[in-house]
């Protein structure tokens, strides 16, 4: 768990790190809208490609990233498999009603081309959303997140909530490890392979309650530290991470705006005028 959660506290040196917070947050939000709005492989593939390039350009710790990718892929694969178990003909209502059966186990369980296509596009969509999130997490710091959200018009107290929560995630994993180790020192078996599932659930609670209570006990300290620095005295505030937009920032903001207008046009023309349950299907008969 501790290896999986990582965020930047100090801004990095690569091209994407140097963009301002507002640019990154805006682009990220528009990209998420873009991934959600359609089940069209022709739209998703370029974004997947671009976000992979972004991840490579951010020079991450590859060992962690690859393990994470495999875990996320397996989890999503299991999810779409459950979709198939529940509704083997789920694809046909998205692709236009036909169902070309490739292989059938029984009259209810069959593999059709449409379902296969739908589930693969769905998996691709989840993975695209993940790579976009990954690029965002790797490129941003908590202060940039707060200043970016504030630049987009979110009230600053909500910005503080979001950035503080984002910043606190690694601390939780550190606390979790500490509590786990101290439980083991008291003789509680925490090895996943050596304990049956019900006992493991009970032991999760032994970690969980101290974790929740220590976290909530820390509220006083953090709140005092913020108060002592004059937090919340005025109606509004500025951010240290808020910088004048550079030429690159301006370029990215214009492209974000263009992408946003494209999303808006797509949503109005494809999702509102026509029924939304339609997807691009190349093997249509």
């Amino acid at each position: 768990m501790s290896k999986r959660i990582f965020i930047n506290i100090v801004p990095g040196k690569t091209f994407l790190h140097k963009l301002s917070g507002k640019t990154k947050v805006g682009l990220f939000i528009v990209c998420i809208v873009y991934t959600i709005m359609s089940f069209d492989l022709r739209l998703l593939a370029p974004l997947m490609f671009l976000s992979l390039i972004a991840i490579v350009s951010l020079k991450p710790d590859w060992k962690v990233i690859i393990v994470l990718f495999i875990a996320i892929f397996l989890m999503n694969f299991f999810n779409i498999f459950l979709y198939w178990v529940v509704k083997p003909d789920i694809g046909s209502e998205w692709t236009g009603g036909t169902s070309t059966i490739l292989y059938s186990f029984s009259s209810y369980y069959f593999v059709s081309l449409e379902t296969l296509w739908y589930l693969l596009v769905r998996l691709f969509k989840m993975l695209t959303s993940f790579t976009v999130s990954m690029a965002f997490i790797l490129s941003i710091t908590p202060s940039e997140l707060a200043s970016g959200l504030h630049g987009l018009g979110v009230p600053y107290k909500i910005c503080t909530v979001v950035s503080l929560a984002f910043r606190y995630i690694p601390d939780i994993s550190r606390d979790y490890e500490n509590i786990k180790v101290s439980m083991q020192a008291r003789g509680v078996e925490m090895d996943l392979r050596k304990t049956p599932i019900l006992k493991r659930l009970k032991q999760t609670i032994y970690i969980l309650f101290p974790l929740i209570i220590t976290s909530f006990d820390r509220i006083g300290n953090i709140a005092n530290a913020l108060d002592l620095r004059g937090y919340g005295l005025k109606k509004d505030r500025t951010y240290y991470a808020e910088v004048e937009p550079t030429l690159m920032d301006k370029l990215f903001r214009w492209s974000t705006l263009a992408l946003f207008l494209f999303c808006l046009a797509w949503i109005v023309s494809r999702n509102i005028w026509e029924p939304a349950t339609k997807m691009w299907f190349p093997f249509e008969v």
């Binding site: 768990m1 959660i5 998420i32 991934t35 959600i36 994470l68 996320i72 989890m75 999503n76 299991f78 999810n79 779409i80 459950l82 979709y83 529940v86 509704k87 789920i90 209502e93 998205w94 969509k125 989840m126 959303s129 993940f130 999130s133 990954m134 997490i137 107290k157 909500i158 503080t160 909530v161 979001v162 503080l164 929560a165 984002f166 606190y168 995630i169 601390d171 939780i172 994993s173 659930l201 999760t204 609670i205 969980l208 309650f209 974790l211 929740i212 976290s215 909530f216 820390r218 509220i219 006083g220 953090i222 709140a223 913020l226 108060d227 919340g232 999702n271 029924p275 939304a276 349950t277």
Partner: protein
């Protein structure tokens, strides 16, 4: 102590302490949603994250619990890698609001007041709020944001709602008694 009006109880005091509590609640909610659960159905977990709105609600009120759940779910989507499902974030936020109603019906955890009557009301609200949040609100937003897919959404609602009720009653109520004892013990001074 000054008696608070019902609106003050619902909105909560948005001072620095509340903001920090909501932030930490959101972070815990996000992490527990990703790592602190057992998968029961596609994208649905028996998750211990549901304990967070109980605590935030008990100590700070329903609107802070709502914000903690909403932000926490978006963070969980961000680090979880299963895609962004804002319909569920809204459903969880609504659920957080109802679970966090504790101070409104008189359970004052920070003063050590929590008895069997409050526990019963809490359990009833947990069942009703799950039905409302995942049976009505999430499907509405599923249709609005993602179009269709209602069969699977309802199955997710049913399994997710049932596991939430289990966590809220079986773990939430003991936790509330524990917290009430903890806070009540340290504040037994009376004004002369």
């Amino acid at each position: 102590m000054k008696k608070k009006s019902i609106i003050e109880l619902i909105v909560g005091e948005w001072n620095t302490k509340t903001i920090v509590a909501v932030a930490i609640g959101a972070a815990l909610f996000g992490v527990l949603m990703v790592y602190g659960g057992v998968q029961v159905f596609t994208n649905t977990k028996l998750t211990t994250a549901m304990l967070i709105p109980v605590i935030v609600g008990a100590l700070f009120g329903p609107v802070p619990a709502l914000v903690a759940c909403g932000v926490g779910n978006v963070l969980a989507d961000l680090i979880g890698g299963w895609g962004f499902w804002f319909d569920w974030s809204i459903g969880n936020a609504v659920l957080g609001f109802f679970v966090g109603l504790l101070p409104v019906y008189g359970a004052r955890i920070d003063e050590g007041i929590f008895n069997v009557k409050h526990a019963v009301i809490f359990a009833i609200i947990a069942v009703l709020a799950n039905a409302l949040a995942f049976g009505v609100i999430t499907p509405i937003f599923t249709v609005l944001f993602y179009g269709g897919e209602l069969t699977i959404t309802f199955m997710q609602s049913l399994t997710g709602g049932a596991s939430n009720v289990l966590v809220l009653t079986l773990l939430g109520i003991p936790l509330l008694f524990l917290l009430a004892k903890r806070y009540g013990g340290s504040k037994n001074l009376t004004k002369e």
